[in-house]
Amino acid sequence: MLEARPFALAEENPVEILFVDSRQLVRAGIERVLSDSGYLTVCGEAASCDEAIRQVRSSRPQVILIHLPGSRVDVLDGARKLHRQFPEVRVLVFTDASELVIQERLLQAGVAGCISSACTIEELFTAIETVLNGERYLSDSLARKLAERRLPGAETSPFDRLTHRELQILILVAEGCSTERIARELCLTRKTVNGYRKRLLEKFQVSTEVALMRLALCHGLVHIPQFG
């Protein structure tokens, strides 16, 4: 893509943002900060990625910011769907430093960038400029960890070998979902889900799903809040 001048944020030409966050208070606060900056206009807001998909056509954002707590399945699937349906819109996802596997999957799925949820507003501006210049953005802390995984001799993640479907089911199992619930959420038969569950135990060479859950927890695929 040839451009005369790299894109830079400017008040005369604010960037249209669609902001996705399920928590009303957090969404309202961050949207206020974004639009008060003058560089950005919040042209749409959504509580989920599915809601965002319905919004994109009418609000026509340049960038979609996904800031979702809760199940990583929602983030992975939502970001994938948004990118596939609207490849011209740049998708930026907030992730935690512990979520290496999720970040790799998101980047493979074509999202424009992952930004640390601990970022400052200035870093968010930089990220938005970067992705609008057609580049990928990764927060420093995330980039460093991902780069380490690329070095020769680095441990490969046992999750690398999983298909998207296997990863979805692994996360749902680790969240404690029943076969019925997983089948319903992913539109699969119970038999298929049970087949996946059995195969996951074999792939990871563990005898119980609790052991699977603990692996998923250590790799940032699920989170369990605990007193610090």
Partner: protein, 219 residues
């Protein structure tokens, strides 16, 4: 900032969330954000130096965490009003924070109006617990229910629970405890029943959340 404003200290680990919340609160008449902190230690230090009327506290923060920070603030100044605003709605979080002396507990799904109401309420000495959390707490504190669901487990049940939560199979547990697989399964189902969970993974997650199984034991 008016001198009669309620002074607020904002504690949250995410800077963007803090900045956003500050912007919204400062627009509310009668409220002023006087400081913000991202860790438990910083929050305790700022509470001492700034002497805010109300602390808006997240639970999952760096360092000593929200619970310990709340305890220390109240030990130093029993009059300080700590209002917990957090995504953590599941027990044991609300019960432990309120026991530690927090004046209120709100989820992040609330709007700015509810925060404002809650700040006013706790400042005038009342407690404020958002409706969804109050409902859960009311149900969990019915007579016959203990503080922690793990309190009412027998020694043997506790043993089986820990082994399940460590990822051991029924077969392994039965060998360790010299019990039949059938007996171990009977214990598991009794545990599910007593703890209100449906499967081993939920059981393990509950144990981790309550700190019965340490995360350090996980790796």
């Amino acid at each position: 900032m008016e001198s009669t404003d309620i002074q607020i200290l904002l504690v949250d680990h995410q800077e963007l969330v803090r900045v956003g919340l500050q912007r919204l609160l400062d627009e509310e008449p009668g409220l002023s954000v006087v400081g913000e902190a991202s860790s438990g230690e910083e929050a305790v230090r700022l509470a001492r130096s700034l002497k805010p009327g109300v602390v808006l506290m997240d639970v999952q923060i760096a360092g000593i965490g929200g619970l310990e920070a709340t305890r220390r603030m109240l030990r130093h100044d029993p009059e300080i009003r700590v209002l917990v605003v957090t995504p953590q709605t599941d027990e044991p979080f609300p019960a432990r924070l309120l026991e530690a002396g927090a004046a209120g507990y709100l989820t992040r799904n609330c709007g700015i109006e509810e925060i404002t109401d809650a700040v006013q309420a706790v400042t005038s000495g009342e407690r404020y617990i958002s409706a969804d959390i109050a409902r859960r707490m009311a149900l969990s504190m019915l007579p016959g229910k203990e503080q922690s669901p793990f309190d009412r487990l027998s020694q043997r049940e506790l043993q089986v629970m820990l082994m399940v939560a460590q990822g051991q199979s029924v077969h392994e547990i039965s060998e360790h405890l010299c019990l039949s697989s059938k007996t171990v399964s009977t214990y598991r189902y009794r545990l599910f029943d007593k703890l209100g969970v449906d499967n081993d993974v939920e059981l393990a997650r509950l144990a981790i959340r309550h700190g019965v199984v340490e995360l350090a034991q996980l790796a």
